[in-house]
Amino acid sequence: MRNTLVRSVAAGAIALLALTACSSERSADTSTGTNAGGSTEAAKGFAADALIGVALPAKTSQNWVLAGDLFTNGLKEAGFQSDVQYAGSSTTVADQQAQISAMVTKGAKVIIIGATDAAQLSTQVEAAKAAGATVIAYDRLIKNTQALDYYVAYDNFKVGELQGKALLDGMKAKKPTGPYTVELFSGSSDDNNSAVFFDGAMSVLKPQIDSGDVVVGSGQTEIKQTSTDGWKAENAQRRMDSLLTSTYSSKTLDGVLSPNDTLARAIITSVKGAGKDIPVVTGQDSEPESVKSIVAGEQYSTINKDTRNLVKQSIQMVKDLQAGKAPEVNDTKSYNNGVKVVPSYLLEPLIVTKENVVEAYANDPDLAPLTK
């Protein structure tokens, strides 16, 4: 009998190391090492047809699908090669980590990341940086890493403020005097933006709640109590179902703060299912179904954060980096990711209700027909 322990060692080693060809990159790397880690490397620019990686979350929202298409076409028009990837629907975080590593391997010069979990990518972002790529966080700020270069997004605190204001305006239009009974929903707690939206909205609602003009029927005003796991419609619908049973069997519900359109529609579905009148429900993202719903008078408001402008701005940053210029930023103090303040370019959001729905989407080829 041959010694199987030793054989196992070898079998394990073979399986592990797999079969590889031989070439050392280290020597090549060290020779260019002088400009690999430094900030000077951005100033040098790169080839006009370089590879640009775009890693987006799973296709759970139409926004991400649209963003992916816009990136593919926009980068192509600008003369770059592009690699646009979505995370898989079940193993999102691990998928995105692997996709970013693959982009680094392929030698992408800029990697634009719409994070699935903004706190679980620091290892990959650091590897990208070490390999000489510039990393731009798109829409969601990547946390706890020095290696993040830029952040481009809509001003999300402003989004929250607009939602809070819309909720109050909508309820006043229906019923001139308070007190108004409302429920609060917030987004997924693994998304950095959820808290920003919620805080923005609360900055408007809190004084009203304190004065008693607005009452949260269930008493759930903490972000942890109101969060919606994974931004999933089913989770919001389930929570709304329970709220209706527990709190609103006799009371009327005047308004619901919803952080986005998918959740707003889920909330409306739940209310309709319970046979209640539809309250004032806010939203965000301008999803076609919600635009239809606003035109039909069901959902009260949404936010137009035109994905086209955000993608356009991101591609502009890539072009600047390619030319060796520092990309334009308009906020260098608000967005701290835990270890550094990330230079950001923030775009202005726009609130959309039934009143301004026609003008708001006049330039949007997909949404304009829905408003007619």
Binding site: A10, G12, A15, A21, A98, T105, S122, D190
Partner: protein
């Protein structure tokens, strides 16, 4: 016996499981080479190999435990949830109580032991099918993860990240390579040579036929070439990177568990229980204890895998572990284990897992979207097992068939080389 067969036997060791392993490794090599061509050489680039190992080591660690669970005739659906639960517990104790990271790892393993004892108790001593117990565990520990973590993402300190994102340090003279990785490669290379030398000596002592020297030379040279290339590749990556720590943990586990499942009574008992539990019990195997330990072992490995993932991600999140059980189960079945239990090897499962990993990685390098990657992986899983089942029915060379022979009930277990098993596979061509 044909000449081809004779050559095959002397080259791959003559035992059927070696021939089978060759088949699996051949498949892996074919996929690696295919992607190497399709991605213009990116697949075998050092950066990619390093990220491949660190991306999949936790899945392969799960596959080790899952192989033993499946061999014992069970299944474990709770591994992803256990991993996520342990991950959040460990992240939380480090954040809230400032527990040092090495202690946190021990706590994590201890939580794994407790969870494993819980599941093992229901499976072994109450007799609830493992499918149900672990389905319950899947819900239980997923809920536990959200209960403790408030569905929040909790960062972990730098020291802890070593087990998932760490590399061997750069020490010693500047050789242009990572010195410790070179040393590791040397160690593996020496192991390959010593293995062959000892095998020859044992056969001499047993007065058995000793293969000609040139056969031995080939048997040593091929793995050595692989080891040398792999070593240079892993050692020659970007400065600061090398063979990942998580890969070393995996390697050590593979060696220990391979030895355990092949060469110890405890390991063989698992196969006996999976093959025919009544017969095993009648011949004195402590059925309950084996089932208990197999389930417990799985939970401990799941705990380890969870911690490695958390370390690699630098944070524990609410989506950790989702779908891992399926990856691990797929690796085990592609690696040749039987659905009914009793069959399968650790190294087969590792190679099966690597086939999936290389496939995933290669498709990602080609820029194939995750939707299509999932479709392709699903088809590969189905085809790999279907092809083997078909070949077995046709009486041709079959991976599962050749694997099963030493353990089959009608043919008494006798894995010693060159005894009576050859006529059964007389028709089989050289694998691949």
């Amino acid at each position: 016996m044909s000449r081809v067969k004779e050559l095959q036997k002397s080259l791959f060791g003559g035992t059927t499981s070696n021939a089978r392993q060759f088949g699996m490794i051949f498949t892996l090599v074919a996929i690696v080479l295919l992607f190497q061509i399709l991605t213009n050489g990116l697949t075998l680039n050092s950066g990619n190999l390093i990220s491949l190992v660190s991306q999949y080591s936790y899945i392969l660690i799960l596959a080790i435990g899952m192989l033993m669970v499946i061999v014992a005739g069970h299944i474990d659906l709770s591994v992803g949830s256990i991993a996520a639960f342990v991950g959040i517990v460990v992240a939380k104790v480090m954040q809230d109580y400032s527990v040092p990271w090495f202690l946190a790892i021990l706590i994590g393993l201890a939580v794994g032991v407790v969870i494993g004892a819980w599941q093992g108790f229901w499976v072994a001593y109450v007799g609830v099918p493992a499918f149900i117990v672990t389905l319950a565990g899947m819900l239980l520990f997923r809920g536990g993860n959200q209960f403790i973590g408030n569905a929040d993402t909790i960062p972990v300190p730098e020291g802890f990240r070593t087990i998932g994102a760490g590399f061997l340090p750069e020490i010693g003279p500047n050789t242009g390579y990572n010195n410790l990785t070179l040393l590791l490669g040397l160690l593996v290379g020496v192991a390959v040579v010593v293995r062959e030398w000892r095998a020859r000596r044992v056969r001499q002592q047993m007065s058995a036929d000793v293969a000609p020297m040139w056969i031995s030379a080939i048997r040593v040279a091929f793995p050595l070439v692989v080891v040398v290339f792999a070593t240079l590749q892993f050692a020659g990556g970007r400065v600061g990177t090398s063979f990942p720590i998580s890969g070393i943990i995996l390697g050590v586990l593979v060696v220990i568990y391979s030895f355990f499942t092949r060469n110890t009574a405890g390991g063989r008992h698992i196969y006996a229980v999976g093959g025919n539990s009544r017969a095993a019990e009648l011949s004195g195997v402590k059925l309950k204890r084996v089932n208990f330990l197999v389930m417990m072992n799985m939970a401990v490995l799941a705990a380890l895998a969870g911690m490695i993932f958390v370390a690699r991600s630098a944070a524990s999140g609410p989506q950790d572990g989702i779908g891992w059980e399926l990856d691990a189960i797929a690796a085990v079945f592609i690696g040749g284990a039987a659905v009914s239990g009793g069959l399968g090897t650790i190294s087969g499962s590792i190679v099966g897992g690597l086939v999936m990993a290389v496939l995933n990685n290669g498709l990602q390098l080609m820029g194939v979207g995750s939707d299509r990657v999932q479709i392709i992986k699903g088809l590969v899983l189905l085809l790999a097992v279907a092809l083997d089942v078909y070949n077995k029915k046709q009486g041709r060379f079959s991976i599962i068939e050749s694997l099963t022979r030493p353990f089959r009930r009608e043919a008494p277990a006798d894995p010693a080389p060159g005894t009576g098993t050859d006529q059964e596979r007389g028709k089989s061509p050289v694998a691949g």
